[in-house]
Symmetry: C2
Subunit: 116 residues, 2 copies
């Protein structure tokens, strides 16, 4: 999983996101990777790059440990999240898809009300 190493070195990921004053939205995405993640690290990097181009993207925090990954991305609105999801769905469909890469995954949409 060399692709992960490259991603792990990305200082944009392994740091606290500089978000604006609440309210804003968070997409909390824990996942357990399967044994075969061929192609996934490359897609993850591309998806991340694209997120930055979506209007309303505020930042992302993520890390992975063993086969567990936890990513929290921040967005100005639910509309921005929808735009992102639509894009990610297309990209995943063009590739091997979640069912192969992930043993389990879950998504939570939350409204950040306070931060400190």
């Amino acid at each position: 999983m060399d692709g992960w190493s490259a991603s792990a070195e990305n200082p944009d990921v392994l740091q606290i996101a500089a978000t604006p004053e609440p309210p804003y939205y968070a997409v909390i995405a824990p996942a357990v990777l399967s044994g075969d993640v061929t192609g996934y690290p490359e897609l993850a990097v591309r998806l991340m790059e694209t997120a930055h181009e979506i209007d309303g993207f505020l930042g992302i925090e993520s890390c992975f440990q063993g086969r567990f990954t936890l990513a929290v991305s921040y967005w100005r609105s639910l509309e921005a999240i929808d735009a992102w999801r639509e894009h990610a769905r297309h990209q995943l469909a063009k590739n091997l898809g979640k069912t192969r890469w992930f043993e389990a995954y879950f998504t939570r949409i939350a409204r950040v009300e306070r931060d400190y």
Copy 2:
């Protein structure tokens, strides 16, 4: 940081939390550890154990990668979060405290509105 290894092997942490139907609350806590985390892993384990005893605790997802940690805990209500924060504050005050262990930390309180 041997304490981290023990914690890393904890299957209770490196998995997707089994939360109930929304709405519920999430505490999103990214942090960058300092070079000296003496005593912190032990406290983190104790704090986690105590969280399970607080009424309204629903689960936690967390991982760490290098010096970056990301933890998302889930709660039934803001009151449960307040109870947890009060407890954690006391524990940290009795120990070395956040200023020594963390180079940076941030906390976001969010209301989970949807999950899928």
